[in-house]
């Protein structure tokens, strides 16, 4: 197998460069968030925490943050419950139209958010006259996170031995009881992972929120509007660094939980 090793070094070098390409641009944000300069320029001037301090007193930001957290938590609970039910239906039951329903639920993943956003806007405002609010944002976020939740949970449910459930049923448990006592504990890491991924997706989503929030504001909307003012850039850097840090912790946790035990089969594309 010596031919396998011959080009390993070149490929390893590429892999390292690729990771640098992925990470360096993003890691510039925390770097400059500590820089004592209102312009994002080299060379670095000096260390400061003042941009972080100015965040705490910004009430528009805190309101937007709270709105995003509310929407995110609501969306991830609803999507994870729906995803759990759908994943169970897909992995344990046969029913008519199973494949087409599966494809339909995954469809929001490949439709541009722009189209989902404007078409939802048209139906809510022009045809139904529904007032836009965080609720309408949440509803559209459920649409885009339900397929993620279903995929994550399907991978988890396919990963464990089905005979454990059957044993529980054979020993006299009802369907609900065996689900609660056998399936749920086994699927738990997937549930936590789905919750975190749905939360991050909703928390970060800009375009649907932009169309459907009405006069409300979520954090991405706030960040986007702040980017127009050059003197506010350091604030965005500090805020962005905090978001990056928190979402990296959440993602590592979610991925670790999700892949633990099923990393060998790895049936999920995402």
């Amino acid at each position: 197998m010596s031919f396998l090793r011959r080009h390993t070094n070149l490929l390893s070098l590429f892999a390292v460069l690729y990771l640098l390409f992925l990470y360096v641009p993003v890691l510039l944000l925390p770097l400059f968030s500590f820089n004592d300069n209102i312009y994002v320029t080299l060379p670095l001037k000096g260390f400061t925490l003042k941009w972080y301090e100015s965040l705490a007193g910004n009430s528009a930001l805190l309101n937007a943050l709270w709105a995003s957290v509310k929407v995110g938590i609501g969306v991830s609970i609803i999507s994870t419950v729906l995803g759990l039910m759908a994943a169970r239906a897909m992995t344990r039951y046969r029913f008519p139209g199973r494949r087409s329903i599966y494809a339909l639920i995954l469809l929001p993943l490949v439709i541009p958010y722009m189209v989902i956003g404007v078409s939802t806007l048209v139906i809510l405002r022009r045809l139904l006259d529904v007032e836009l609010s965080l609720l309408t944002v949440g509803a559209s976020h459920v649409l885009i996170t339900v397929p993620l939740s279903m995929l994550v949970l399907m991978a988890r449910m396919e990963g464990f031995d089905r005979s454990l459930e059957e044993a529980s049923r054979d020993l006299g448990d009802t369907a609900w009881r065996s689900f609660r006592r056998v399936t749920l504990p086994l699927v738990m890491p997937g549930i936590v992972s789905s919750f975190l991924l749905c939360f991050i997706t909703s928390f970060d989503e800009y375009l649907l929120a932009f169309f459907l929030a009405g006069s409300d504001s979520t954090l991405p909307i706030f960040i986007f509007s702040t980017l127009r003012f050059p003197n506010k850039i350091p604030d965005v850097l500090a805020l962005g660094s905090l978001i990056l840090m928190i979402s990296i912790v959440l993602v590592v946790l979610a991925e670790w939980l999700r892949r633990r035990g099923i990393s060998g089969s790895d049936s999920s594309v995402l």
């Binding site: 994002v40 080299l42 404007v118």
Partner: protein, 313 residues
């Protein structure tokens, strides 16, 4: 009915305590999700198709059927054959082209990375997978913003080069053009391509590779005849996962595109927000989806033909 018949033979449905037939229980479980997808996606999509045949009169919608919006877009496209493309055709062609270049860059860079993970990493695969997944889930908005910081007039590249004494005036061509949009898209979507390719490479039965080597294939020949064809499902998935959403992207062209870098997504948003012409915006959305669908079908047809040819050899 076949589902019913086969369902009856599965072990769970033999349980005497069950009251609901299996197919009903499955449908029952998936119904709420299905309702959301129908209500929040299918119905709005149908609505936008219908609205694209209406017209805007002041603040109201004129709901009489008309082809006026599409007529305008067809006229716009016909200008390509006379005195240069109109606004909307230019934007659609430009959006498809930018996405095509960005997607090619993403997939060409992602493939060696996925190959490395599938064939070179023996231990600690989970760490690599997580390393590649983290950027995928971190804020898209912030990844795009990072490039604004890097490429800007007073950005990292310009100020860095200036402090090194390599340039005197900032390079203006870095930001606010189609190239900066392409670079930013290629970076922001990079992580989406590695994992699908990795999964299909990982699934390849290693004994095929050994067989190819034993039968005298060189490393390159083995790659093109065994590894690459078997990794095509993941590679095609990666291409579609990146190409389809990037055509309609709004954040990237808005933040780093400038006037020359705007894409069709910006134009659609303008019709709904500033121009208050929802029917034209709806027609543009339909046209964009049609263009994406055609591009994808063309791509799949080309791939399909190539694969058939490959099978003949």
């Amino acid at each position: 009915m076949t589902a019913l018949a086969s369902g009856a033979t599965s072990p769970t449905s033999q349980d005497p305590t069950r009251r609901r037939p299996e197919w009903l229980a499955g449908l029952w479980l998936i119904a709420p999700t299905l309702a959301i997808v129908i209500g929040m996606m299918l119905v709005p999509l149908c609505a936008i198709v219908i609205v694209s045949f209406w017209t805007q009169t002041g603040f109201d919608l004129d709901t009489s059927f008309t082809l006026a919006n599409y007529g305008l877009l067809v006229d716009d496209a016909l200008k390509c054959f006379s005195d240069g493309c109109g606004l909307y055709s230019t934007l659609i062609i430009k959006s498809l082209w930018i996405s095509f270049v960005a997607t090619s860059a993403v997939v060409l860079l992602a493939y060696p990375m996925a190959y490395f993970m599938a064939f070179r990493i023996q231990r600690g695969k989970l760490v690599w997978i997580i390393l590649l997944t983290v950027p995928f889930w971190t804020s898209y908005l912030l990844r795009v913003f990072a490039w604004k910081v890097i490429l800007g007039f007073n950005g990292v590249i310009n100020s860095g080069l200036k402090s090194l004494g390599l340039i005197e005036k900032p390079l203006e061509f870095l930001l606010y053009n189609p190239a900066s949009v392409t670079i930013t898209l290629a970076h922001a979507w990079a992580a989406y391509a590695v994992l699908p390719i990795y999964v299909s490479l990982e699934k390849i039965d290693r004994s095929y590779l050994e067989a190819a080597t034993d039968l005298g294939d060189s490393r390159w020949k083995r790659f093109w005849r065994v590894t690459f064809p078997l990794s095509l499902p993941g590679t095609i998935a990666a291409i579609l996962l990146v190409f389809i959403p990037t055509v309609g992207d709004y954040i990237t062209p808005t933040l780093v595109g400038g006037p020359s870098g705007i894409m069709i997504g910006n134009s659609i948003a303008t019709q709904f927000i500033k121009a208050n012409n929802a029917p034209l915006g709806a027609a543009l959305s339909c046209l964009m989806m049609l263009a994406i669908t055609l591009a994808v079908c063309l791509f799949l047809a080309v791939i399909g033909k190539k694969r058939l040819k490959g099978a003949d050899i």
